[in-house]
């Protein structure tokens, strides 16, 4: 173990794949992460139980859309669960994870050791962001999969009626569900980038989490004010509920594309801000 034994420095793992693997495994070894995923999975379970236990069928047009279809087709539990989770629960959990990225490491005192290792500031930012994106997918799937499972357990399963009135087979509906999950995961990427940037601003993770979550609410409030029409297409939450277009026949891809471009814009802007902030920051924690 003498310095001479040290292998010549190479540019091995420039991509930081071991670090990414470690980041994801650390994220999913936290009890908090599992608690959040479990809460998300609980949402469709509660919906399904509520529908099962109340004898009266929910009247058409009351409650979240498609709630009245749940009792006829268990596959709708997923859909209703996602619909309910998109405005608040998913942004909440993503806000926690994204807000924790850098600020959490800073407050634990591990940030300085990661940087000394050296993780490289840019590499660390990218790894943190990718891990957050992985959580976005995991969170969305938690709702979708638990919804499908509880739906299948409590209600009949059959061909699914699309918004257009056409019916598709169970297999096709699973493909559509996965598309919807992909759509929602993409929808959360902009918020994740905002959270990452805020997280580089502070050493207090709770502050970064709260700010990110508040911004997600503010964006949705602004999106509902007709006076701000001009602003709406620029709000990161604007297409959050646009996944309904995936349940039309044929699939309307417009909102998927617009959403993708919008989220990419947010990733670029807040990624660049996070880069500017984090690469010039004095790590004093």
């Amino acid at each position: 173990m003498s310095p001479a034994d040290r292998p010549a420095l190479s540019n091995r793992s420039v991509l930081g794949l071991p670090l990414l693997a470690s980041e994801i495994s650390v994220l999913f070894r936290r009890r908090r992460t599992w608690a959040m995923l479990a809460s998300l999975a609980l949402i469709p379970v509660l919906i399904a139980l509520a529908v099962r236990l109340t004898s009266s069928r929910p009247s058409t047009g009351r409650g979240p859309a498609f709630l009245d279809q749940v009792s006829q087709n268990g596959l709708f539990v997923s859909f209703v669960g996602l619909l309910v989770s998109v405005p608040l629960f998913l942004p909440l959990t993503v806000g926690v994870v994204a807000g924790d990225t850098i600020a959490g490491e800073a407050s634990a005192g591990t940030l300085r050791y990661l940087l000394i290792a050296p993780a490289g500031r840019v590499r660390l930012l990218v790894v943190k962001y990718v891990a957050t994106a992985v959580f976005c997918v995991a969170g969305t799937l938690a709702v979708a999969v638990s919804g499908a499972m509880i739906g299948a357990a409590l209600f009949p399963i059959g061909p699914v009626t699309l918004l257009s009135g056409d019916s598709i087979a169970v297999g096709d509906s699973i493909v559509r569900s996965l598309l919807i999950a992909a759509y929602i995961s993409v929808s959360l990427l902009g918020l994740s980038a905002i959270g990452l940037f805020i997280s580089t601003m502070t050493d207090v993770p709770v502050g970064a989490m709260a700010t990110t979550i508040v911004l997600s609410v503010v964006s949705q409030v602004l999106d509902s004010l007709p006076q701000l029409d001009w602003l709406h297409p620029w709000l990161f939450s604007h297409y959050w509920l646009g996944f309904a277009d995936l349940s039309r026949q044929p699939i309307l891809w417009d909102s998927f594309g617009s959403n993708l471009i919008l989220q990419a814009g947010y990733i670029l802007v807040f990624g660049a801000l996070a880069f500017g902030r984090f690469t010039t920051k004095d790590i004093l924690s």
């Binding site: 009626t161 009135g165 509920l241 010039t280």
Partner: protein, 353 residues
Amino acid sequence: MKRTWLKWMPALAVPVLIASVAVAVPVAANAAVNLPTKTPSQVLALAAGEKVTALSGTLSQTSNFGLPEIPTTGADASAGSAIELLTGSHTARIFVDGSTKQRVQVLDTMAERDMVRNGSEVWLYDSKKKTAAHSTLAAGATSPPLTEGSIPTPDEFASKFLSSVDSTTVVSLGDDLRVAGRTAYNLVLTPKAGETLIGSVSIAVDSETGLPLSVEVFARSQEAPAFRVGFSTLDLGTPDASLFTFTPPAGVTVMTKTPKAQAPQTETPRNDTAKPTVSGTGWDAIVALPAGKNTARATSSPLFAQLTTSVTGGRLLRTSLINVLLTDDGRVFAGSVPLAKLQTAAAAAAATK
């Protein structure tokens, strides 16, 4: 410190880049189109000779009639939907294969209304109300209007104006356009001096097929179009045949309509005893509707009071494009004309009665 500023450069450059793309893309889309020169009458002939039989496309419709924003939810939701067409914007998809296969989908938030016609079979489906209505058309009949709040196609809408081109209209050509990725001649219909509220009508005529791609109606009082309907995407290929077969899904209420009720589910304020009459022709025609229980029902709505103003002889619904006068005795006069002409018409109608 120089290094510090360099690190912030991307954060400055990215928004600048996005802003320039946001500006450049519409500019590029509207880049000067230079089509072979045609006279207005050649373009009219091109439009008249349109032979598109199959298409699929997305239509968007925006209205800006100068009305206050109407809440479309809440207690007055039904009244809101009645004037839905007058405000805001809507999107629909349309699929056409020949004259007897059509499908129109009005895309609402988390909901959809469909009209599917296959030969003489017509289905109307409303995903929110969970209703499907079936009817059989008499041979040769045209497709019924979808539902209230449906969107006219630019083709249908343009034909209303084009068929009435006469001596009261000046036909000219504006700058060539690009609509839904296709090049188009810009046919502009301007009413000759007359007492109409309509400033002009712009019809984008596809340079290749003559199909109207968009129609914009300008009011004299407004710069922005008061009404616009146009394709945002258009594909002239034959749509998938499965789109025109409709089986009502399980769990919906299925109604069967007789052929006579051509427009199932429509609730236009019309009853059999009250037939509208049209006075005048062309741009300043006035539609008169005798008193009926529908008008009485409409006037009792609180929304009505909110939208109309009291004028001599009744109440006025004023928009930038159309004025509607509801006389105190329940008759309705509507037209793209100033209030005074409606009042005159009302007085004249009363005198002849």
